[in-house]
Symmetry: C2
Amino acid sequence: MSRVAYVNGQYLPFHAAGVHVEDRGFQFADGVYEVVYFHHGRLIDEAGHLDRLERSLRELAIAEPMSRRALQAVMHETIRRNVIASGILYIQITRGVARRDHPFPEGVAPGIVMTVRRVKPTSAATIAAGVAVISTPDIRWKRCDIKSVSLLPNVMSKQAAKQAGAYEAWMVDERGFVTEGSSTNAWIVTAAGELITREVSSSILNGITRMALIELARQAGVTVVERPFTVAEALAAKEAFLSSTTSYVLPVTRIDGQPVGDGKPGPLSLRLRQSYESTVVQRVSA
Amino acid sequence: MSRVAYVNGQYLPFHAAGVHVEDRGFQFADGVYEVVYFHHGRLIDEAGHLDRLERSLRELAIAEPMSRRALQAVMHETIRRNVIASGILYIQITRGVARRDHPFPEGVAPGIVMTVRRVKPTSAATIAAGVAVISTPDIRWKRCDIKSVSLLPNVMSKQAAKQAGAYEAWMVDERGFVTEGSSTNAWIVTAAGELITREVSSSILNGITRMALIELARQAGVTVVERPFTVAEALAAKEAFLSSTTSYVLPVTRIDGQPVGDGKPGPLSLRLRQSYESTVVQRVSA
């Protein structure tokens, strides 16, 4: 059974899903995106992702291609046509197709693409072992709060991690503080048991899973402090982990080749992963 | 007569020139480009543009899609098929099409697109009046030496300039120095008659026209100093101008609404423009 993509009003066979070479997403990275996890046809944190998508569009003054309700209908129809029970929905909206010129074109409709695919769940072995991260200078632009497709530095960081045998790269700002991973948020648990993750600013993307985890931790009586931390602080921490839409919560057990704590996944990391998984299951069966 | 685009081995009608939605240029800004001016079928500074294109590819570890000789053949054939005497050739090379995942995909051929179009020469009135620029914080990433399609901050700056009624935005780094324009290099002429433009580093793109102008100025006995300058210094300068492949040399007569010098195009700016135009004509007739 073949995959289907939604492209500018049409449901197309995946292999035929194309955009014009003068789509501004292709020539200028002038577009935004979201990746939404779905399970048994239910989109997880759908409203959160749509809120963020609309915010990204507003920040760049890209028009919404359709109402939220219409967008949701297309999202669900794209999933339905792909006949996949669980996976991820990728949505990209660009400023549209126009003769190449830097300023915003006038009278041009935004472009929209949706694709769907299966994702392998993280293996129990990976969760049990935790993952390694490397640290790397954060060379990105100063509007990382916008979920734009201007992802070249993220690509370069992730490739550096892969080459070092690591799962992710934690990017470090000029003052020595971790901003976030190339596609995940970064967390530590201090000796005092406080959960630390960087505060929201233009230096990070406010993860939808990040927000859910803060809420879950607080509900469980954990003190959450949103502030920057250094790599040294992370290495000296009791636990470290990363979070994202597709990885949920993954314990980080090594940074730059050095063990975090005792080098094993920490109890709070694993508890938060379980809590998050439970909420996903609850929302699907609700 | 209709336009033709070259896309991954095929010459296509312009309207049908598309790339797959999973082209990494579209989803990750994972690609580079060049804009080359041509006049009567001759590409201006062809070798300089190809050198820079190859450097950009090397810096990102994107494979060259074909040999330089083959690329040149396609460039000239694309121009020939468009039957345009003078205009610009746009070349974009991306890391290719692959299932969406940040690290570099393996075994994937790079993607290549070329388009051609006419450009209106800058009007004599514009040259005589000079253009206005605004200053804006440089929020770009830290590898501006790579001519990547990760151009969203440049788009935003150019739009800000347009909204302010200006031609260009000069981006200012955290220390208060002008880096460059959103698609042009920035220059001033001091009271002592020295020509100043920012030195090459990862903070600017080394313009092909920039390099040609430094050479021409030195040949004319002008002292060229490659160093950063502030907006205040530019406002107090005798002359200011910008340079690029398509605008050649354009006098800058206003910055943030304030006049530069006496508010009129300066003699060195105009002389350099003439010299550069002469070299273009010479190379075409050579």
